[in-house]
């Protein structure tokens, strides 16, 4: 059975990025399950592959609007595609770093892969995933955990 | 008893009465004769001085004096003594430490009769 502590490791990674980059904490929205294999994405997603004891993916996805504001909060005026991707990659990186440190035993965690405007969303390995909305200011991003 | 081979005296140290009896009952090495058993380290050292055993089976977690210290004392009393640590494998570091202090081998609890006798044979080796 999937454990809440495992879920929390990923979430903590995501929350930490907001905290450290903007010194304004993000909050966790009401989490839910998606059973049809389509948890959905915003414009940008940083995807981490996980293998070992559990196999699957974890991704962080955020809309352009949120990323733009985030960049601005970071005193970054260049809101190019490149910078958007970098930012999402940074969040995913922190999540995977957290996971590497805390999951350890039997998990192999990949370097994140950033996709923008995924036409069909992200390819999900299983139909059921956990979706954890991440709210920051008025914006919403989400963390999708699809592991078996 | 086989007259050609010298009998070796054996002592059992374990805080569990059941394990002590179990080892005594199960050991089937002809030239081993159980001369006593102790339920803690202090008792074991006393009994060792009185009976001068050649072979000792030793539990590690015991009241009064733990197995590691006991191993050290017994080896100091008689460097040629053969000590088989018989203990649950909760912590390999403790087991390795017992070997470091002079125990000769390790048998993991729980054990079968066959494992016990195999370990004792191995312990006696050339003797």
């Amino acid at each position: 059975m999937f454990r809440e502590s495992e879920l929390r490791i990923f979430i903590d990674g995501a929350l930490r990025v907001f905290e450290t980059l903007t010194s304004q904490a993000a909050t966790v929205g009401s989490p839910y399950l998606v059973t049809d294999g389509k948890p959905g994405t915003y414009e940008y997603a940083g995807v981490i592959d996980i293998s070992g004891i559990r196999k699957g993916i974890v991704y962080f996805t955020a809309p352009r609007g949120m990323l733009t504001v985030l960049l601005m909060r970071m005193q970054e005026t260049d809101t190019s595609e490149e910078n958007m991707r970098d930012l999402v990659g940074e969040v995913a990186n922190t999540i995977s770093g957290n996971a590497r440190r805390d999951l350890g035993k039997g998990f192999v965690i990949s370097v994140p892969n950033v996709v923008s405007n995924p036409a069909d969303g992200v390819a999900m390995p299983h139909s059921r995933s956990f979706v954890i909305p991440i709210n920051w200011r008025t914006h919403a991003a989400k963390l999708v955990v699809c592991l078996q | 008893m086989d007259g050609r081979v010298a009998t070796l005296k054996m002592m059992i140290v374990d805080d569990s009465n059941i394990i002590r009896r179990r080892i005594e009952r199960s050991q089937q090495i002809d030239r081993l004769e159980v001369v006593g058993s102790a339920s803690n380290g202090v008792e074991a050292v006393e009994l060792f001085k009185r009976t001068d055993p050649d072979v000792v089976t030793m539990d590690l977690t015991m009241p009064e004096m733990d197995g590691i210290e006991c191993v050290e004392r017994l080896v100091a009393l008689k460097p040629s003594v053969l000590i088989l640590v018989v203990s649950a494998l909760a912590d390999k570091a403790t087991a390795v430490e017992a070997i470091e202090r002079g125990a000769n081998g390790f048998l993991c609890k729980p054990f079968t009769d066959r494992q016990l006798n195999g370990a004792l044979e191995e312990l006696l080796g050339g003797r």
């Binding site: 059975m1 399950l33 954890i132 | 390795v96």
Partner: protein
Amino acid sequence: MKSPKGTEAGANRRVRLDIILIVAACVAFLGVVFIPGLRLAKSLSNDASALKFVSERRSYTLAVRNAVETLQDRLDSGGYVQAPLDQLRKAGEGLSDAVTRMSGAREIGVFDTPTETTALADPQIKASVTALDREWSAYRAHLAPLVAFHGIPFYDSESAGTHLNPEGRKLADATTLALQEARQAIPRMDADFIAVTDALEKSAAASTSRLSLVMLVGLVLAATMVSFAIMLQLARKKQEEAVRDAQAQMQRIFATMKEGLFLLDRDLVIGSAYSAATKDLFKRDDLAGLSFEELLKGLVPEKTLDTAMKFARVLWSERTKENLVKSINPLGEVEVRFQSEAGGASTQYLEFDFHRVRAGDDIAYLLVSVSDVSARVALANELKASQEKTQAQIDTLLNLLRVDPNQLSSFLGDSDAALQMVNSILREPAREEAAFRKKVDSMFRQIHAIKGEAAAIGLTTVEERAHGFEENLRALREKRELTGNDFLPLIVKLDDLFTHMQSIRELLGQLSRLQEVVRNTGRAPAAGAKPARATKPGAGESTIIEPLAAGADLAIMLKQLAERVGLENGKAARVEIAGAAALPNAYRRVVKDIAVQAVRNAVMHGIEAPQARRDAGKDPCGVIRIEVADQGAEGYRLTIEDDGQGLATEKIIASAVQKGLVSEAEAATFGPKQVMRLLFRPGFSTYEKATKDAGRGVGMNLIANLVNESGGKIGVSTSPGKFTRFTINLPATSAAGSSHEAA
């Protein structure tokens, strides 16, 4: 495996043996050939020079006789005597000198005596020389007057002619005597000389033959040594080839083997030879000369490293029985974390195995083999997980076998809808605390209903999960601040419930297929049973999940619930149900939910323990009556009544005050109706201990909610010691008519 060190040590031993053999051969050669040969050659050369000396001196004997004879002739003929006398003196001196020198030979040291005499030490020769000496001494006495003579032996006058003077006469007499003696003495001396030369010749011959023997021995020895050397060379070459082969083989093995393999010396430093795989396993090239500690540092936790180093060290102690410590090898299956340059880390499981390598009796090395067992560990984990899953499935299956299929089918449908509902509640975006709180309440109702139903049909695996969910929700209700974070455990539990329901569905599917097979083989064994797959799917399912007469499933479910809850609480109760068939489909669900809670409450709180009932003159088995009455336009009336202890108003008030639902003063003003209303307040329960069947004070509250949601009304009447009756009026529905007719 043969150790390289072992071969090396063997080679060393063999080389040492070779050297010993060569030195021995040299000593033997010196002792057997060289020294005797030198000695023999010396003696041979001595013999030769002695022979030459003796042969030369032998002529002096003849010279002496000739001189004496000539002297006599001269004396007779009045000739000149000076020349023969000189000749005699010279020969005599020569002979004397020869005899002196020959007899002067002492016991000889090989190197420090004059050459010519050394050979004469032979006893036979000595005897001859002694004889010679004696004879010569004796004979020389006869010669003495001759040698001593000086002057002229004649009177020399014209008249008388030449004739001997007195001295001459003496000389002539002596000469005659000497000549006479010479006839005996000279041949004898000559014979002595011959004996000496013969002996010398014989000795030389013996030396020669001995020398040739020595030469032969030397030849043989030399030949032996040469052949030995050749053999040695060949052997060494072969051995070198073998070593080269072994090394090449080792290299090949090291290059191709998947295992990491290296040697540790006494200081636990890695040797220069290791398998290629070792580098890959540890992701580094600088293994040779690296300490074992350095190798492991950072890969394994500090404590494991410490234990591993101790373990490796105790293996060097002869006290430690190698085979008796394998089980405590701290690196037997160890998780290692490699930090990559990119900052990532990968985790692998490595298995280290230590073997002692002995050279002779000593431990020379520890051979360490390392293999990557990540796959094995992963497999073991999977296996364990699947075993756990299988166990859970078996539990569920056993559970399912006790459950009525019809009830199960409707339960699965209902609960799936409820779970979906829970998920949609969760899915509503929420940021404010109030929104989260509302979700908790909504979810509670759904989950509680699932729990009640699962309990009713005896599906404990679902009941336990729902109970856990409910407990979690309950905790959230009491929590001061609510955020999405607090909901994380809920989705994990929801996921588990979904998964569990899914596995029940799968098991049910398998059961129905199994039943099909059993039925088909049982019915038409001779006709050749059609494969199970060929049967119409509908046919199989219909026998398992065949709709019973409306209400029958409810009756069965409630009876089982009452039995089970009674059993768990040491009570006996039976359910009597009437008019359930009159219930329209629209109310089926809500009535079921209400009845489940009510029956559970009745058993928990209403019905007394059997002894108490007997004492009160009642049947030990309590009765719960459920009646549904169709009241036409008035709708439906549901009556649930138990013949238990009834409701005591004081008890209700005391409990409500204790829970903080009302103040004592407030309660004092309550009339009976108001007291009864307390029953339906959230958080009320009169039961002391919380169990999954009752005690959370939610049962009555849930009933009230359900009734409210249906637009109905609920009333309570009770008589202490006799009964408690709930009367629920549900309004008529438009849907009710049609289903009413159908039923």
